[in-house]
Symmetry: C2
Subunit: 195 residues, 2 copies
Amino acid sequence: MTVPPGRRERKKAATRQKIADAALRLFLERGYDAVGIRDVAAEADVAVTTLFSHFASKEALVFEQDQDFEQRLTQAVTGRAPHEPLLPTLRREIHALVRHCTADGAAPVWHMIDASPALREYEESMRLRHAESLATAIAADPGRSQTTTACRTIARFVIDAYALAREAADPEAAVDEIFRMIEAAWETASPSPLM
Amino acid sequence: MTVPPGRRERKKAATRQKIADAALRLFLERGYDAVGIRDVAAEADVAVTTLFSHFASKEALVFEQDQDFEQRLTQAVTGRAPHEPLLPTLRREIHALVRHCTADGAAPVWHMIDASPALREYEESMRLRHAESLATAIAADPGRSQTTTACRTIARFVIDAYALAREAADPEAAVDEIFRMIEAAWETASPSPLM
DNA sequence: TTTTTAAACCCTAACCGTTAGTGTTACGGT
DNA sequence: ACCGTAACACTAACGGTTAGGGTTTAAAAA
């Protein structure tokens, strides 16, 4: 698998990267709102239509690689050792993700995101999609008997944990605090106790 | 209070209503995406700029009166009888809101919303704002000692309950199921037990 | 009352993200 | 060597949104 990619795919990847780099550079230099799509295309030396064949929207230029987010969460669920409990696994993963985006190098980018309502909104709707994927992964987990609603609820709560922790004064501690609440909610949704 | 409003304010309110009515009529007739802002303005017989002085965006035309949502939730918290527990109050309110928007008359509008990604996204970002207001209201509740993070978390969970219940097969039952989970989370966040 | 202020409204023209239509180039399979 | 097609370019437009600048009229000040 992963045969040596041909010249074609390498060129395509290079173009995509060139666009993403140009976009990030301009956005950080002049501010997201002050940079137009036409500016980015010119800086990357591509046509506007080409830009949009690589990125679905202006906002997507900023969240270039955040399909990882979705995959990491669902894989944490589906790919964990058998009998390993669900929520500690998710907590560890959220910890890692929060740490990743509160790292020093990422600060300017997140500052830019927080400053733009359009970007905040986009990020939120991204997270909604992530929550749906996560809910599906949780519902498919073997040896589990919660309702569909409970699974979707927990998935939302986990995504909320990420969003809230990012904004908290002490993100790491916030993850733990919120996950204590989620654990309690999850146990309540279990069909066994007192039945 | 509420002195007789002058002619000016009455005219303004009438214009706003005329725009909202025209918009809803056209949207339901032809579909949200097939109707342009210029169409709505023409139907309401106002200038496009006037339309935008009453509504911040095209999507806001659809969610015309949903500031109620925010106020109902925060007032349910701040205006409840002393010593009345928080979560049952919120559960009752969410029940009412879910019932309201799953009522028969509201079906066409919600069908339209579900059919448009732009509207779904807008609604979600609206709910984020609602969650923030609710979190503030909860945090300001007297005789309570949860952390800020816990309050924001619970507020999010409550808003999630609304969103998830709306989409569930049996919305009323879903509200109860999710609130059982939220209660457990809330108790875990209380600083008293086992200390 | 008269005068003044400013809110509500109108119109035109544009800005900006995004897309359709239509070619052109050049890689990759045959 | 040849053909199909993926990647890219160019132009022009569409649709939401805003800026600029003007007119009317309710309401507050004189």
